[in-house]
Symmetry: C2
Subunit: 354 residues, 2 copies
């Protein structure tokens, strides 16, 4: 077990359960509105969940999207359809505003925060926050992807960003990522933490063919067999299989939960980060909202372990936080309905369900 610094223990200690009183008050709010009880379905659940996370119904959704980018030594095993250079190229694309997540964050009126947590090639830009833990992780099939100290540093840096966003009034943070080969890191991490077979968690990533998936499964199996890491210490598993961006996003999740800010999961990789956070502090799950279902088979497994049901199923397989950004208008709408709809009493509508 890796020694946890005092700051991490303090952070974990601050993460408490959701506010059930606020959730009930929000449900009573929905029940008084001019509509049949429960007829807004999952929008009611989401509005109530936002209230339970924050302690009351917020006036507005104030969302941010955090896109964490990093490189992965395991890319050398040929597990991605894309070459490693694409991570840095996409970082430049985020900075220039041309990627899908730039467009979708604008559409959702969300603040976009791009973080370099360890891309192989240095790319400096005023719009990219630099929290570089290293120039990409080591190859997880040869040894640990990162040191325990690096894992802890990335976790705490993520938590710090979350606390800053919370201090700025942000009440929902969408988790996005970019990193060539990071579905392999996430698959290994998920297999280890869920004690699942690599075949159950590995998928096509951004576009592998059948042979590519078979190879990826073999790589994950090799990584798991080289180490005796169990699932007992999440920080050790995180360090073993890594992803600087995954460690950072796990920290963002912890920081959000501590600050009572909603965590909006994107696809498989951000959910693997959420799983690490949940293993460290189980109440973190109560602050999570699953935005969409990825076609990666490991995603469904993680979400069912966390007890989360995704809002969207649009067959997205891009990452970057795109699925999470697309769900933000649903969150905003659930809050607006609670704040703006008329009640049966005020609108003089007969309430047959009373």
């Amino acid at each position: 077990m890796i020694d946890r610094p005092h700051r991490l223990e303090q952070l974990i200690a601050r993460i408490g359960p959701a506010d059930e009183r606020a959730r009930r008050a929000a449900q009573q709010g929905f029940d008084a509105k001019t509509k049949p009880r429960g007829s807004l379905g999952r929008l009611e659940q989401i509005g109530c969940r936002m209230a339970a996370i924050g302690g009351s119904v917020p006036e507005h959704l104030r969302p941010a999207v955090v896109v964490a980018a990093a490189d992965h030594g395991v890319a050398a095993e040929g597990v991605s359809a894309y070459p490693q250079e694409v991570t840095a190229q996409m970082l430049a694309n985020f900075a220039a505003g041309g990627a899908a997540i730039n467009v979708l964050a604008r559409q959702a009126d969300a603040r976009l925060v791009v973080v370099d947590v360890g891309v192989a090639v240095l790319f400096e830009h005023e719009l990219v926050r630099s929290v570089r833990i290293g120039a990409g992780t080591a190859n997880l099939t040869d040894g640990p992807a990162m040191t325990g100290e690096q894992a802890l540093r990335a976790l705490l840096a993520g938590a710090e960003l979350a606390e800053q966003l919370a201090a700025d009034g942000v009440n929902a943070v969408a988790l996005g990522e970019m990193g060539i080969a990071n579905t392999t890191a996430a698959s290994t991490l998920a297999a280890a933490l869920l004690t699942a077979d690599p075949g159950e968690v590995c998928g096509r990533g951004t576009g592998l063919d059948d042979a590519g998936v078979t190879h990826k499964i073999e790589v994950v199996r090799r990584a798991l067999s080289r180490t005796s890491v169990g699932s007992h210490d999440p920080v050790q598993v995180l360090a073993a299989f890594g992803g600087f961006e995954i460690a950072f996003l796990a920290g963002v999740a912890l920081g959000c939960a501590a600050a009572r800010v909603a965590i909006v999961l994107d696809g498989f990789i951000s959910s693997a980060a959420a799983l690490v956070a949940a293993k460290l502090a189980p109440h973190t799950v109560e602050a999570m909202i699953a935005a969409h279902l990825s076609p990666e088979p490991g995603h469904r497994l993680i979400l069912s372990t966390l007890g989360l049901e995704p809002l969207l199923d649009l067959r997205l397989r891009l990452g970057e936080g795109t699925g999470a950004a697309l769900a933000l208008p649903l969150l905003a709408s659930s809050i607006a309905l609670l704040n703006e709809m008329a009640t049966f009493d005020r609108a003089n509508v007969t309430d047959a369900g009373r």
Copy 2:
């Protein structure tokens, strides 16, 4: 067969196929963007469909929500959990801005058009457009819900509204409705047009219990058996089982298709209206986008007959166009991605999928 006036024949004649060249051009647009091919899943389909409907990729989504309200004589059979007076009360609520659809239309930046197509009690308000065909339909178990002339009048009035919206620059119209007992009208209509058993199409509406559903099935069966109306003349079936608001929305769908404006279906009732439009002019389907899946069993049946896959499944059962309004941001995002994302070439990102 009911004689069709020249205006209806002209309208139907104007409804042509989708623009496959525009669809292919939009797909090529998506393929050049900085993301793996197809990785935006259904958002790419929707963007391409919007292009195929309008003939090119629009600059922006310019949406409207049409909420058509009317009363139903079949309410006398006790098929709804709510009394008939609620239709007029909700019309007042729409006018005052307090209903769910008011909130969701605002959230989607959509123009809201509320239409009284025949509510039992007259409610006049500057924000309610009056196209009253009658003070509610007749009880469909006793005889035709409306005359053929009324059905045609409602259809043409709906088409006229669609053409006005198109002239104002609207390029997507969400179909919403309000009318106590209208799931019974829609169920009868769907059973007749799909030659389905009433048990396959009837659901809980806004909140019936098991006994209520059984009773509703019996009412629909009685209505179907009193008449020899086949499924050969959609206008005659429409008149027999009606819904002034359903006839009006079928007309809105026809008018949208003729004006090359996207038709965004809401739940079961708006989809029954869409089915009538599709029976009159099959190419209308190519202008439709299914926003959400209703728990009403008849809805899945209609959508599969039309070959449409819903974008959302949020267990909504409210109507008013709420599910359609919630899907509008997805349409807006698909268009924004096509217009605003960088291409591989421009962003200097390596395109492994080329």
